[in-house]
């Protein structure tokens, strides 16, 4: 009996978690503008409609620029912080690392509002660059969490051995450290990219007249006729997100294997 209850619980849990997402592709291919059952028939016209919406293309382009920049900045910052956290001891280390990790639990709306206030006080226009800054802030903790794992898994004496065998600090980083943490770097890039691409609140507060994809989508919800198109776009985004996460996790596991380590439960 106990096993059965557990199975039912698991089934309900998964259903509640994923049923809404399953609705996305369902209505994306539904031949009708009203989002309601019964379904009307199969169509790909909503996907076709995506292609001739220039505003959408601009929003996608904005989002990609922001996501790529965020991924790079957050990963570079994360690299520095993770190396420092795992290799060196310094005063108030736990406090400083905790402070850097804080945005992980800080409500995004607070980050968004404070950034907006700072921008307004400085008399600067918000725009793509300010969203990049905001996203870097919230993505850096993720990058650190991933990269800290990579550095912690790496035997410190490997770097010392390379120096002992005649290499400089920089060539040691290039020949030993970088190849061994590179799977972590790739995983971090991919995850930060995904987070930034999906992020709404900061983008909404700071986007000004250059909407990102999620902000554009939200704007479209005001027009009921556009809903199926939104569904189609959502479907594509879900597939892309899942793909990116799978690739990121694959790289993380490959990194562990390369370092000859057992998988002890990953970041994901």
């Amino acid at each position: 009996m106990r096993l059965n209850l557990l199975a039912i619980f698991a089934a309900v849990y998964l259903l509640v978690l994923y049923a809404p997402i399953v609705l996305l592709p369902l209505f994306a291919f539904n031949d009708g503008t009203v989002i309601a059952f019964p379904l009307r028939g199969f169509t790909t016209q909503w996907f076709a409609a995506l292609l001739d919406t220039p505003a959408l293309h601009q929003a996608t382009f904005n989002s990609l620029v922001i996501a790529v920049s965020t991924a790079i900045f957050a990963t570079i910052l994360g690299l520095f912080a993770a190396r420092a956290a795992t290799r060196y001891g310094f005063p108030a280390k736990a406090g400083i690392i905790g402070f850097i990790m804080l945005p992980l639990v800080l409500p995004e709306v607070i980050v968004a509002i404070s950034l907006l206030i700072v921008l307004m006080q400085l008399g600067l226009n918000s725009g793509t660059w300010s969203i990049i800054a905001g996203h870097t802030l919230i993505c850096t903790p993720f990058a650190i969490a991933i990269l800290q794992g990579s550095f912690a898994n790496m035997d410190r004496s490997l770097e010392e051995a390379a120096v002992d065998l005649g290499e400089t600090a920089w060539s040691t980083f290039r020949l030993i450290t970088l190849p061994l943490v590179s799977p972590g770097i790739i995983a971090s890039l991919l995850i930060c990219f995904t987070i930034s691409l999906d992020e709404f609140i900061i983008a909404f507060f700071l986007s000004g007249n250059e909407p990102t994809l999620p902000v554009y989508l939200w704007g479209q919800l005001r027009f009921p006729a556009r809903l199926p198109v939104v569904m189609a776009l959502g479907t594509i985004l879900v597939i892309l997100s899942v793909l990116l996460l799978v690739v990121a996790e694959t790289f993380r596991r490959r990194g562990l294997k390369r370092a000859g380590l057992k998988d002890t439960g990953g970041f994901l």
């Binding site: 035997d155 004496s157 490997l158 051995a161 390379a162 005649g166 061994l180 000859g260």
Partner: protein, 367 residues
Amino acid sequence: MSQKTPIVTLTGVQKYYGDYHALRGITAEIGQGEFFSLLGPSGCGKTTLLRSIAGFEDLSEGQLLLDGRDMEGVPPNKRPTNMVFQSYAIFPHMNVAENVGFGLRRSSMSTEEKRRAVGEALEMVGLGKFGARAAHALSGGQRQRVALARALIMKPKVLLLDEPLSALDKKMREVMQVELIRLQREVGITFILVTHDQEEALVMSDRIAVMFEGEIAQLADPETLYRRPNSRRVAEFIGMMNFLPATVLPTGPGGGRVALEVAGLGRAELETAQCPGGAAIGEAEIGLRPESLTVLYEGQSAEGGREAEGTVREVVYYGDMTYYDILIDGAPSPVRVSMRNMPGRRVLDFGARARLAWDPRAMVLFC
């Protein structure tokens, strides 16, 4: 060994980590081609000293000369030393040959010469056919050999070994001990070994520095260290040692000898040379190794009548040997006696009375 030209000279070496005083004035000379061990319990500073020689730690005070050159401010990659790390630090993303050849990257050798050097180094450690093997497909003993080959290919003046055998099982450890001694004779390079295993140090070393709390307690060859430990602490750390209270008698025989009354054993005469500062009259302590006490069987008697009697308090049978704890009459605590088991010689029972012979020449006076 000390007549050999020193390759490593340590003078008044001090190391602080904040308030922690890790090395407290280390002074020693290590000779060309010597197999030198730093032996001590964990936290005694032996690894810190080794890492200071390698250049991974800066000295707080004092001087380190390597081959006559002051190493102040010289980074590890510019020192004539190479290290075998405790974890072996085999680069996991390279195969065996790439690992071994790593240090030759910056050398002016041709590719062909490098290839040959790697082959020779692998041959030397008995891994001739393993060049293409992936690093993670190696056993512990093989990793150890790769680490050795990778360091030796650099032809260092001094090879530093940080607990190189601690990760191996007992059998493999014994194999590698012999292997290391052979390698060291073959290449003639000075080896400095860090270990907490006194047996390992005794087996392999020309000289051993026993370290406690950042200081060298005794620096000597293995035999001197075992036979003539200069303090109770060293004696306890190296092998097994019985301690008995003794009184230094005022009526010594003179002529470089001193008379003692040892609890349970009686009067003994020892060389005063054991106490460089002179033996103070009064309370003292002597040490006696378990193999320096002999159980006497019926009909046997001790030379010079140096016999004692006691009761067997513990019997530990090892097959080739038996260890007895015997409480000698008049002694405050039992002494351990090790006896080789011979055919036709009965193992004593618990509680039995036993006669013991002792030899004052094996006695160590702690003063």
